[in-house]
């Protein structure tokens, strides 16, 4: 059984990075003996776990990329996790990790870089040396640099532009909402910025941000109690500097409906839309809004209201979801992955690809549902059902010890005093929320009048004309539908959307993420 307790001295949800250094965790291990409090550790000891997990959080992300060098935070972290060290070539590292079936990788998002890894206890010594070498002694070799750069370019030029319209739509939406801010660009940068990055740039970036004062060490699993102190000491040879922190992005106000149409020869249309919201995890409105969002569009779940309207009743696509926190790689993960915490979130709707001829109808259907819930709020029985659902569904968010560690680190980011168990706190908070609070939070944070849209489609000019003219968009089904559905379709097909010609921009897919 887990035997741990955290005391966090953070008293409020202040989001400044600097405040993170002040957070103190007190650790009680196994026998209950109190350890010396540390301000840079998150520890989740679990005695009967045969494995040990590490998460090393450096407070740097793509928001710190210098102008023209977008992608450098990701490239630096990947060179650490997938490159040679001054001790071993990358091939040798792979040779050493191979028999112990262990590894480490880097996750870089807008504000966070987390190097994570896991090993069986039997192999801790070999593994620990490799992991700490990667952090302390990266070699930044030309051949590793070329390989990873080439992967990035292929990802943008081939994968994102041509083989994953849904991810393309989502990336375009974030780019559009955060235009002109530090959140604007892809984590992997743009084609031109990646090409401009040199090894010297990487070395400079590493020196600036991979510092002892910019690091939090997370360890979970069956580790000896001397391990955290040893790791802290070993990593203390990183520079002592505190990097300058930057402000959270200020998004420009959205006026009306703004469309970015990405022209691409595709048979199906992928649609994402959204707008910024000023709610972060841990704040009171967050839990109220979480309940609304779960009802409206729980990720990859048939309980989602949008899913019911668009997929279940009408069979138009594979699924329809909404978000109040960034959800990366939604096509692969059923539940969220921690460690992409951000100070600025958006409300986002993801409509999975529909046949091109239904692109106007599906947009109207989704916006009509959004309008309905904003105008009328949630009903009591809907909230009660969603509370029951989320209370247990949340158990699935962090089933492994490394994920629990990830959530504990996110709690540090958001200034949440979760006693080392965010999921339990989440369940408790969800249960306390009232219908009045949910509907007040919807009124305060969710709206349907000022929205940005990113749409990947064929013949964008025609779509533009239809959108501006409010052309009716009746849907023709291959199979019969109930009278109730047919009657509602009549309302949806002419649901008015006020869209100005100047608010629709068309770009060719080749232009996306070029600069």
């Amino acid at each position: 059984m887990r035997n741990k307790r955290f005391v966090n001295f953070a008293s409020n949800g202040t989001s400044s990075f600097l405040i993170l250094y002040l957070f103190i965790s007190i650790l009680i291990i196994g026998c209950g003996k109190m350890e010396k409090p540390k301000d840079n550790l998150v520890l989740l000891p679990i005695e009967d776990d045969q494995t040990i997990s590490f998460k090393l959080w450096f407070k740097v992300g793509s928001q710190n990329d210098p102008k023209g060098k977008e992608g450098i935070a990701a490239l630096t972290a990947d060179l650490i996790a997938e490159g040679s060290t001054q001790t071993n070539s990358y091939e040798t590292i792979l040779d050493k990790l191979y028999p112990i079936a262990a590894g480490y990788d880097a996750k870089v998002d807008k504000e966070m870089t987390v190097i994570s890894g896991r090993t069986h206890k039997d192999n801790l010594n070999e593994y620990y040396t490799l992991l700490t070498d990667a952090i302390l002694k990266p070699a930044f070799k030309q051949e590793d640099f070329d390989r990873i750069k080439s992967n990035y370019l292929n990802y943008i030029e081939k994968q994102l532009r041509y083989a994953s319209d849904e991810e393309l739509g989502k990336a375009a939406l974030y780019g559009s909402i955060f235009e002109g801010t530090t959140y604007n660009h892809l984590t992997v940068g743009s084609v031109e910025s990646i090409k401009s990055i040199t090894i010297d740039d990487i070395k400079k970036f590493y020196k600036q941000y991979y510092t002892n004062k910019n690091l939090l060490i997370g360890i979970s699993g069956g580790f000896e109690k001397t391990l955290p102190e040893k790791m802290e000491k070993d990593l203390s040879s990183l520079p002592d500097t505190i990097p300058q922190q930057i402000d959270k992005p200020k998004t420009a106000p959205i006026s009306g409906y703004n469309f970015l149409l990405i022209e691409k020869p595709c048979d199906a249309t992928a649609i994402s839309f959204g707008f910024p919201i000023n709610v972060m995890r841990g704040q009171d409105d967050f839990f109220a809004l979480t309940l609304f969002n779960s009802w409206f569009g729980e990720h990859r779940n048939s309980s989602s209201h949008l899913y019911q309207v668009i997929r279940e009743l009408r069979g138009m696509n594979y699924g329809d979801y909404s978000y109040i926190e960034t959800f990366l790689h939604g096509g692969y993960y059923n539940v969220p992955d921690p460690n992409n915490a951000r100070r600025q979130q958006i409300f986002e709707v993801w409509l999975r690809p529909v046949k091109n001829e239904n692109r106007h109808f599906v947009l109207r259907a989704a916006l009509r549902e959004l309008k309905n819930v904003v105008d009328n709020g949630m009903k009591k029985e809907e909230l009660e059902l969603t509370k029951k659902f989320l209370n247990k569904y949340a158990l699935n968010f962090a089933t492994t010890n490394i994920k629990r560690l990830g959530y504990a680190i996110d709690s540090k980011f958001y200034g949440i005093d979760s006693q080392g168990d965010y999921i339990e706190l989440f369940r408790r908070k969800i249960n306390e929320v009232t219908l009045e609070q949910v509907n007040a939070a919807i009124k305060k944070h969710i709206q349907y009048k000022n929205i940005k849209f990113a749409v990947v489609t064929r013949d964008a000019e025609q779509y533009k004309k239809d959108l501006i003219a409010n052309t009716p968009s009746p849907i023709i089904y291959a199979t019969p539908k109930s009278d109730a559905v047919m009657a509602e379709d009549k309302l949806i097909e002419s649901f008015p959307l006020d869209i100005k010609p100047d608010n629709i921009k068309i770009v060719q897919v080749e232009e996306m993420f070029q600069k």
Binding site: K158, R161, Y162, L313, K355, L390, A478, T479, K481
Partner: protein, 442 residues
Amino acid sequence: MLKKLFIIFAIGMTVMNTQAFSQKFFPLESKTFMLKNGLTVILVPMKSHSLLSYYTVVRTGSRDEYEPGHTGFAHFFEHMMFRGTKKYPGNVYDKLVTEMGANANAYTTDDLTCYHLSIASEDLEKTMELESDRFRNLFYQEREFQTESGAVYGEYRKSKTSPEFWLEEKLAGLAFAEHTYKHTTMGFEEDIAAMPKMYDYSRSFFSRYYRPENAVLLIVGDFRQDEAMRLVEKYYSPWQRGYVPPQIPKEPEQTREKSGTVKYPGKTLPILAISYKGASFDPNDKLIAAASLFCEMAFGENSDLYKKLYLQEQKVQEFGYDFGMNRDPGLWSIYSKIKKIDDLGYIRTEIDRTIKEFQTNPVSQTKLDNLKKRKKYEFLMNLDTPEKVAGKLTRIIAMTGGIAALDKHFSTIMNVNPQDIIEAAKKYFVPEKRTVLTLTGE
């Protein structure tokens, strides 16, 4: 360590397996038993923060779609199973599952369809009632059936944006002449388009394959074993026998190399697939185990060829293999995503050269030992949640009907020696069993 003898707990259950093994690799205690109606039940208790994984493995996948014009039905059924019964119609089923906060989903492959829920332990009985009901009494009307066919076509369209899907579809069609592995799990597009008219056929598909003799119930996580056994008996005993095995055509022996090309209507790096006809899964067959180790040592992420092509020369963007473990002989494939089309011939030559080398020279004992050690730790480190444990067991259940073969499979792997690897490479990786496919973009 001796495998624990299984307990006969209640009337109506028969002991399934009492064999003792010299080596036990699966570290968790488990119980396997069979109800009188032929349903196999496997219980694996483990600590898991009050969660459990509830898996129903139907040993029918796209492999069983042998009737022309009806491909894609196994996958379609994965969707239809969420439409409910007369007792619990789809919307009621959805509401109950939602109330439980269950993480419920399903997937289909060539050899199996798996329905899985991750639930709080306290909801075991409710789940069992709902799940046993829908497997016995699935009910849907033609209109719902037709609506769901739209969602299935939507899934096909979503998949078709990826070059890998185009490659898989074409490769299966080229490599197999008769066997049902010649279509993907999605099915042929023309069959998917025609699905709305196949309501009656869908009922027959359910009636023939969704039977207790063709299913395995697997429960992993926090639960009391005796309680689970009692509930299984209560809820699943009424499920009637009636399985009709599919008449799957036998694939004729391939006697010459096949090759082809496929054009992907988008931009992609070229992909080269070199596939060999493999063998049916057999946990006791040393040469099949040796063939799997050969693939890993020759083309895996620590192989000399991977390091040469990916790390040193950087001629490939991705490089790897797929060693299909199937009920019938499937494909063992080597994939290369190549940066420059001009290097295609070179990559092909390098793969051929590597195979010849393995057919001629014994691998180093140290490298083989390292691989065996990796297999052990890889397995052990991924048994930390009920979902991962259940996920690890699903395929072996589909192929063999239980989990006893798992320990046998690992024992066989641990006994492979360098000479076995030479023999396996010589037996299976020969030109006449080969299919070569190249995919290029616009």
